[in-house]
Symmetry: C2
Subunit: 152 residues, 2 copies
């Protein structure tokens, strides 16, 4: 796995430590990380606080432009529809994905944002099928179920 993906995975591990669905993302431009994000929905109580959104917001701030042309997003889990639409809107052309998301993944699994209007931008995907990201997600949901069982 490349070093940039490892940084996204580090963000996912930090989300896990914060009792969030463990997803992490980084935005890379010209060989540098210009944005980082970890899923923070529960801690921030913000429905938009997905890893990808936070990484893109930071990247746009650092680059001084909402147009992130030439950037690559590394993310540990396939983006949902909201995030995939934002990726496209921000002109990020390439996404490197750790694990597939069969129920909501919007870059090829449950659906493909490239098939939906507006079709003026296209998002190219690279799949890593990363066992570390999959294991982290499984562990999170296993513990969540156990905690719910305990509450009953």
């Amino acid at each position: 796995m490349c070093e940039f993906y490892q940084e996204a995975l580090a963000e996912a591990k930090a989300a896990y430590a914060g009792h969030e669905v463990p997803v992490g993302a980084v935005v890379v431009w010209q060989g540098q990380i210009i944005g980082r994000g970890q899923n923070s929905m529960e801690r921030r109580q913000d429905p938009s606080a997905h890893a990808e959104v936070l990484a893109i917001q930071e990247a746009a701030k650092n680059r001084g432009s909402w147009r992130l042309t030439g950037c690559t997003l590394y993310v540990t889990l396939e983006p949902c529809l909201m995030c995939a639409a934002l990726i496209r809107k921000s002109r990020i052309g390439k996404v490197v994905i750790g694990a597939i998301e069969p129920h909501e993944g919007a870059l090829g699994s449950a659906l493909t944002v490239n098939d939906l209007p507006p079709r003026s931008q296209h998002v190219e995907t690279t799949w890593l099928y990363d066992p570390a990201s999959e294991a982290l997600l499984k562990q999170f949901f296993k513990e969540l179920r156990a905690s719910h069982d305990h509450d009953l």
Copy 2:
């Protein structure tokens, strides 16, 4: 037009004054506005800074929960795919829309988010076909074209 929609339109007018595509939104819960937003993409240089996203973020902060069950969003233009997906994710069940967006509108025009997975939440729409919102958008794009022609 109801008073809540008028507040969304006031946000759109403020966006217009700030040289943004004029779109405004408010989130209403139990008869009170708990979130306001105006399109701020250019001023903030943030690709996620649509009126709906900002209104939802503020509403979640004020309510202390990312789950905005029972809320209604009033917006002057049909939401794009990113915003429609966020509306669904935030559990907002009702959206009152000023003008249609034929190219990117994701609540019935270019596409319908309700037709896409995950289908666990459904967004109900009410259409106002508001001439004031349409006129504001037309005026903005007319001026934008004139300014581009002037630059050539």
